[in-house]
């Protein structure tokens, strides 16, 4: 009996969806637009994250060793640093490389070029360039270098010069996250309200039918179930339409952004592919829940016949 009623409910819903096709398509379209706005926001989040990470990735800290420090000692420090969980990468630059780079940097400065020629040996020591996994990890990494066994070998660190920039990038990044969270919340609330009202309008057009069904002796669930399922169906079709629409847009946006930001990598399609289940799964669940609740609330208004 229950299975019989449920099957009948599904059939009624499909029949009603088809026979009210323009109303159904209008509902699908509005839910689709609400979903597009939410996914557009996800795209903005990914782009913002990528942009902030690209800036963060350019930040590193250099440790300049005294010229007399042997390469083996520096290798020991490098190994120790690489062992730290916060460190992403440590690059060794030999004194020769540093001298060549310095000379290259000041190639138009006559005085520096003459001074370098007059010097008998290489005045520069080796350098370790450290990249942290997170920009917030630099203070912790710097603390590990305070051990006298290491600090005595170091002539200079550029962390103090970079600290202001690092702090500012951290602050901007944190603020961007907060702003995006607030915008996301506002967008999601607006999307929910739009879907809620669309479903209410769709149910409103069934108002007369609902009262007739009641007068003919239909129970509340016999009326409610097909209408709720019909709105869920509209929501699911909106998600399918979203998927079909989104990927071409992502592909276009990715190419455009990569050329706009001069080679920076924005893997939007990769992000949506890697999080496919989370993004679209959450959207399907949300659409089912929001549409069901909206439909139930709207229908209950017309059931008192």
């Amino acid at each position: 009996m229950l299975i019989h009623s449920i099957t009948r409910g599904f059939l009624f819903a499909l029949q009603s969806f088809w026979r009210n096709i323009w109303l159904s398509l209008a509902t699908v379209f509005v839910v689709f637009l609400a979903l597009v706005s939410v996914n557009f926001l996800i795209m903005i989040n990914v782009i913002t994250d990528s942009a902030v990470n690209a800036v963060k990735d350019r930040v590193d800290v250099s440790i300049y060793f005294k010229p007399e420090v042997k390469e083996s000692k520096i290798a020991e420090v490098k190994t120790k640093l690489e062992g730290l969980p916060q460190v992403k990468e440590v690059i060794y630059k030999s004194p020769e490389e540093n001298l060549a780079a310095f000379s290259e940097r000041h190639i138009n400065d006559q005085k520096i070029q003459e001074t370098l020629k007059e010097l008998s040996g290489n005045p520069m020591g080796a350098t370790l360039v450290i990249k942290a996994k997170d920009i917030k990890d630099y203070p912790e990494i710097m603390r590990s270098l305070e051990d006298p066994a290491i600090s005595d070998l170091i002539e200079e660190k550029n962390y103090d010069n970079n600290q202001l920039v690092i702090d500012r990038i951290n602050l901007i990044s944190d603020n961007i996250k907060k702003v995006m969270m607030i915008i996301s919340l506002i967008f999601i609330i607006i999307a929910i309200l739009i879907v809620f009202n669309t479903v209410r309008v769709a149910i409103f057009t069934h108002q007369n039918e609902i009262s007739i069904m009641k007068l003919v002796g239909a129970g509340n669930w016999f009326i409610r179930f097909p209408l709720v399922f019909e709105t869920i169906l509209a929501g699911l079709l909106a998600v399918v339409a979203l998927m079909l629409f989104l990927y071409p847009v992502l592909s276009f946006a990715q190419n455009y952004l990569t050329s706009f930001f001069a080679g920076a990598s924005f893997d939007l399609i990769g992000y949506f592919n890697n999080n496919f289940i989370v993004i679209f799964g959450t959207e399907i669940v949300a659409v089912v829940i929001i549409n069901s609740i909206s439909a139930m609330v709207a229908i209950s208004k017309y059931l008192n016949v």
């Binding site: 009996m1 019989h4 009623s5 009948r8 029949q15 009603s16 026979r19 009210n20 007369n208 039918e209 009262s211 007739i212 069904m213 009641k214 007068l215 003919v216 002796g217 239909a218 129970g219 016999f222 016949v305």
Partner: protein, 226 residues
């Protein structure tokens, strides 16, 4: 079959649609309830299908005290009473067959049984060839016959007809009344609310006359007197 005892219904703020009305209708009767607009005719139908509850008095239909009916029992009551409305109240997005079948589907009747019963009832109301049409593709008389078919599908003991000819021309009116008489001949109690003087006078059946919420007259073989 139908017993209204001292029933009073007041609609807000203070419109008394029925005042201490007492009506007893026996099984198999054909009763016309007549009266001017606002006399309380339709209120009786609305009370009998539990669309509204009386403020005073009791209503018993087929042994069921519907003044004490629970909300979840209302659909069960309505499946046992056939109702025909002036504006037909057909589902616009369902065909003639589906409209009639719907009354069975709400009771969980299997598809195979529906496929047997609906054509039989459509045959009674002479709509077999219009089973696949939608209500908007039918004339007023045909729509009303669909509504009657839907009301009959459960083989109810009582058929309530609220101004069943109100939207019909003379020819269709005659058809519908003949159909209601035929249904009554099969043993169904028919209660018809109307203000059509010609119909009431031609029927020569029991007539209950309402006047401003009061039962003004109750004649075994009556006439439209207002």
């Amino acid at each position: 079959m139908i017993h209204l005892d001292n029933v009073t219904k007041i609609f807000p703020p203070d419109t008394a649609a029925l005042k201490s009305a007492t009506i007893h209708i026996e099984p198999g009767e054909f009763v016309s309830i007549v009266g001017q607009s606002g006399s309380g005719k339709t209120t009786i139908v609305r009370l009998l299908i539990a669309e509204v509850q009386p403020d005073e008095g009791s209503i018993n239909i087929g042994g069921w005290d519907i003044t004490k009916i629970k909300q979840r029992q209302i659909p069960i009551l309505r499946r046992q009473i056939g109702v025909v409305f002036q504006d037909f109240k057909l589902l616009p997005k369902k065909t003639v067959f589906e409209n009639v079948a719907f009354a069975l589907q709400v009771s969980g009747v299997p598809k195979s049984r529906i496929q047997t019963i609906v054509p039989q009832v459509l045959h009674i109301v002479d709509l077999t060839d219009k089973a696949g049409r939608y209500p908007q593709e039918l004339s007023g008389g045909e729509r009303q016959r669909v509504a009657i078919a839907r009301a009959l599908i459960h083989r109810p003991k009582v058929l309530l007809a609220d101004e069943p000819t109100g939207n019909l021309d003379a020819l269709n009116t005659k058809d519908i009344i003949e159909l209601l008489l035929k249904i009554n001949e099969f043993g169904t109690t028919v209660v018809m609310v109307t203000h059509n003087k010609d119909i009431v006078n031609s029927l020569k059946r029991r007539v209950i006359t309402l006047d401003r919420g009061l039962v003004a007259q109750d004649q075994k073989v009556g006439k439209y007197v207002i």
